[in-house]
Amino acid sequence: MIRNHFTTFLKHGLLAVLCIGLFSDCRPDDEVPQFVTYLLRITHKASGSPLVANQVYTDSSGQTYSVSKLNYFISNIKFRNKETGEYYHEVASYHLVNALRNPANTEIILRNVPRKKFSEMELSFGVDNSANHSTDNIGDLDPGNGMAWDWKTGYKFMELEGNYTSDGQSGSYLYHTGEDACFRTVTFSFKNLLSNDLDVVKDGQVIFDADIASAFGQPNPVDFKVFNNVMSASAGGAKIADNNARAFFKLVGAQ
């Protein structure tokens, strides 16, 4: 009787040990991560050529221009699946891009992207109004980064400066856009690029070309001779914002 009990105890014990062994094989190290990291890579260009500080380019109207400063904010980066409604919204999503620091390869790290399928990506030019009515902010929004206006509360969304020649007339231009009226949101379809959703299964990257010639192009083509100094939305900044929203970023890769 005692031996039977002992045998049963041994059998159950062995079974328990096997079960523990079986489940303990599923170590956290081997688990497929719920979230991955994506890089947003930006290659800056000017009229189709690589952007180089102070190099002279020609716009679509035949005017020449150079770029001595190009800083801008992008914010509220999202991935979204329009069919399932699933989405990723980067937390505290404000990124100051100094395009001339490394124009060929600006990188923004997107953390904790869920392993889902996404049909489109969204981002905004500028700083949304929840952060644009005080400069009491840290990180890329720290006013020490030089993007806070000196004439009102809020941020410059873009600083674009350089020289131009137009119809034989030369000079410098300065476009500082900002204020809520210059905030623009643009959407990029992964389906158009990949013929499918972006299937996020591991760390990856989304690649954009960013051509600053867009600032001078449609729908508000710039005549440098008469429009070369902008320091607000109402003084023409909104036109530059519309131009950039239309064509500055072009999605060229996602993997």
């Binding site: 009515h133 005080s134 400069t135 009491d136 902010n137 840290i138 720290d142 006013p143 020490g144 030089g146 806070a148 000196d150 004439w151 009102k152 509360t153 607000s232 109402s234 003084a235």
Partner: protein, 297 residues
């Protein structure tokens, strides 16, 4: 004799109930918490006023480290003996500033700042005079470098914000906290001057802050080329509009108006009496009563 056994269940219940009672009743019964000297002063949720923050802010306000010449502090222009205002004569001779230095009283209640109301928060405003070439002329990176070399300021930052690495946000928040504590809202007894003030002035200079802080054109004729709030909005209706200032310590803040065109209170009241118009104030005795009241604010 049997040893009485300990009733663990009863003990646990007793301890739990004592703790619960303590949590519920003690704070209410034992009123040992020191009174908050800053209670009633509004502040943003992310920058509550604390004694440590105010002390750090005051130290920064007094510090000449905040200027490029190392000789100018916030107190240089916002002088306590002048109602925390001052004359633009304090500025360097190359300064392009033509507006009078505004008083700092009761700004915790103000929704906008500067004569042209261009700033929306104290934390945003506070960094502008530091960087302005016409005022303290110091870049923020240099400011941080200088203040982070001072152990005393780093310790004050730690006490206020739990870090001794002073960042822009700490400078802005500490200074804003200190400025919010510059309060003067006296309860004044009834008088003829008070009645005249309430009748003729309090439509705009209302409440304990003696201002509704609205942006408006003064009834006095505009002067000079300063277009005021128009510079911010570019709307024609905002030409010559300015933020209504409070009148705390008004007897110490001469000269008056944004451009300092009125040298003393008697003249100011006389000009307003004519412009409003307030026939009653054509009587010199009535004007004297009003001025006497203004001097008590």
């Amino acid at each position: 004799m049997p040893v009485p056994s300990l009733n663990w269940l009863a003990l646990s219940r007793y301890i739990f109930l004592r703790l619960l009672c303590g949590l519920i009743f003690l704070p209410a019964c034992e009123n040992k918490e020191p009174e908050n000297p800053f209670a009633g002063i509004p502040s943003p949720g992310n920058n509550p006023i604390t004694a440590e923050g105010v002390a750090f802010g005051k130290a920064l306000f007094q510090s000449e480290l905040l200027s490029s010449d190392g000789k100018t502090s916030c107190f240089t222009c916002h002088r306590p003996d002048s109602g925390f205002s001052g004359s633009i004569n304090h500025l360097n001779p190359h300064s392009k500033i033509r507006r009078q230095i505004p008083s700092l009283f009761n700004l915790a209640w103000s929704p906008s700042f500067f004569w042209d109301a261009r700033e929306e928060t104290l934390e945003s405003l506070i960094l502008k005079p530091i960087q302005s070439p016409d005022e303290m002329n110091l870049s923020l990176p240099l400011l941080l470098k200088k203040v982070n070399q001072k152990q005393e300021l780093k310790q004050m930052c730690r006490a206020a914000f739990q870090t001794d690495s002073i960042g822009t946000v700490h400078v802005a928040r500490a200074l804003a906290q200190f400025i919010r504590t510059i309060v003067q809202q006296p309860e004044l007894p009834d008088s003829e001057g008070k009645t005249l003030f309430q009748k003729h002035c309090a439509k705009c200079h209302s409440g304990k802050t003696t201002s509704d802080f609205q942006i408006r054109k003064s009834v006095l004729a505009p002067s000079g080329i300063d277009s005021g709030y128009f510079r911010i909005t570019h709307l024609p209706e905002d030409v010559y509009s300015f933020r209504t200032p409070g009148l705390a310590a008004v007897s110490k803040t001469a000269p008056y108006m944004h451009d300092g065109r009125v040298s003393d209170l008697d003249l100011l009241v006389k000009m307003y009496a004519k412009a409003l118009p307030a026939k009653e104030l054509e009587d010199p005795d009535k004007r004297s009563e009003l001025v006497r009241f203004l001097k008590t604010l």
